[in-house]
Amino acid sequence: MTVEKGKKLARTILDTSVNDKLTTDPKLDSGSQKRIGDQLRAMYDELMQQPVPDRFKELLDQLDKKNGGKGGSQ
């Protein structure tokens, strides 16, 4: 019963995410493609350059401490 529900849900999600009005694959001219790519990378680079939050350094620091022990199990 719940499995059925899950399957149905999965199908629904699949359908909606694939449900795209464009049925053919349009092709962009290379100039536009370049512009899109440049903007995307510029936006992304800005995100990449943000400092790494301390929580990640701390998380990975715990690795080193556990190194002599049994490893991390929670």
């Binding site: 999600i13 694959d25 962009l28 512009r35 936006m43 800005e46 995100l47």
Partner: protein
Amino acid sequence: MTPEPEPELREALLAAVPSLRAFAISLSGQVDRADDLVQDTLLRALANLHRFEPGTNLNAWLFTILRNLFHSEYRKRRREVEDPDGSYAGRLKVQPEQGSHLDFEDFRSALANLPSDQREALLLVGASGFSYEEAAHICGCAVGTIKSRVNRARFRLASLLNVEDIEDLGPDSMTRAALQG
């Protein structure tokens, strides 16, 4: 002998964090949620280190984990909320980063308008530097599917951003076209 995490591994994981964050932020549209995703990804990676095949692409492996976490969480949320699409898209649009340039606002909201499978394919191939093959592996689908999604994503972004009808590119566009082959 259980394999203990090496210092090099710690460095490698730490080095992967900026690109994981950029992907997670662009995917989810929320910095807080993205950071939670990255943290969960690291924890899961550490717990499953024995499954990682040395010599293969660590980043691709981490991206796969993050992507799967993102989707399972998204599915969970869809189950909980009746009409999540509107609010989700809305949240994606409103995420001015501290100190970020306004120039990216249009781009971000256009990106938020893409179906999530297209957005993710474009981010992997167009920004994260993965090959089509790697992206297909990360998303668990065929290479052709990734190519198609990336094409559609670019096309839709171009129409949302009105990139197409720009005609003042001049000789530069020809140079670009030539360079792009």
